[in-house]
Symmetry: C2
């Protein structure tokens, strides 16, 4: 899907790489999102991201979750609200800093995410199975280089 833009060779090549990267990322994430929405639990990708983060790092305040997921504070408030309604996570005021909420998984949340996560990984492995191990590594290296300009 090349652009119709008339520019220098460098501009056109950059635009093509950018479009391909954006489309690859969006189409894979769209498919993963659809899987999640169709799963028994009907979660969104953001909700899943919070559960996954909490599973692997224990607990976290909302500021940290926002930084990890590249989302704003107001958004995190709502995602946590919705996960709390389902009884997947709980908020506790940090005794050392009463501004902060420590968010952690409930038993129910932990049970769900630890059971579901492997099949999510399976889907991702399937998506990337068209690449050789070397290509996979190179893709990771290049994306890291590009994404590194500074965080967010």
């Amino acid at each position: 899907m090349p652009t119709h833009f008339k520019g220098t060779k460098k501009e056109i090549e950059t635009l093509n790489a950018f479009i391909k990267m954006t489309r690859a990322s969006e189409s894979i994430n769209n498919r993963l999102s659809r899987n999640l929405a169709e799963s028994c639990q009907k979660l969104t990708l953001s909700q899943f991201g919070v559960l996954e983060a909490l599973l692997h790092v224990g607990s976290s305040n909302q500021k940290e979750l926002g930084a990890k997921l590249l989302k704003t504070g107001g958004n995190i408030t709502m995602v946590i609200d919705n996960l709390e309604k389902r009884n997947y996570v709980k908020r506790e005021t940090d005794p050392n800093d009463r501004r902060a909420s420590i968010v952690s998984l409930t038993d129910e949340g932990k049970e769900f995410i630890s059971n579901y996560f492997p099949s999510h990984v399976e889907k991702i492995v399937e998506e990337f199975s068209v690449l050789t191990p070397e290509e996979l590594k190179e893709l990771g290296r290049l994306c890291k280089k590009v994404g590194m300009k500074e965080n967010n």
Copy 2:
């Protein structure tokens, strides 16, 4: 930002590549989005995407726009609504198929997008300037390969 997931080597390497690709794509698009929001016109990335598509392919019905932007029909309805309010695009009923709306740029919309687009490209070129021309090409190739599984 490696994952804490305990899995096979292949799973971990795939997950790392996936996370890097997603983060690179999202952080670049976040920055572009912020630029657009701060520009005199306060556009969103989706609105911009529609204007850009219309600039380069002339006009299009909503179905085609949805396919191009990987978005659903209901979403396109709203994005076009908002662009219409600003008088950047117009809808006309397709005389050959009265179900379809032909969307095209107004003079005002065309003037804006054709003036703004080059600086948008400039931002993107800047983002990718850390890559050599060969790396850029390879990134494009790998992303295309991964994104190709089938559309959306």
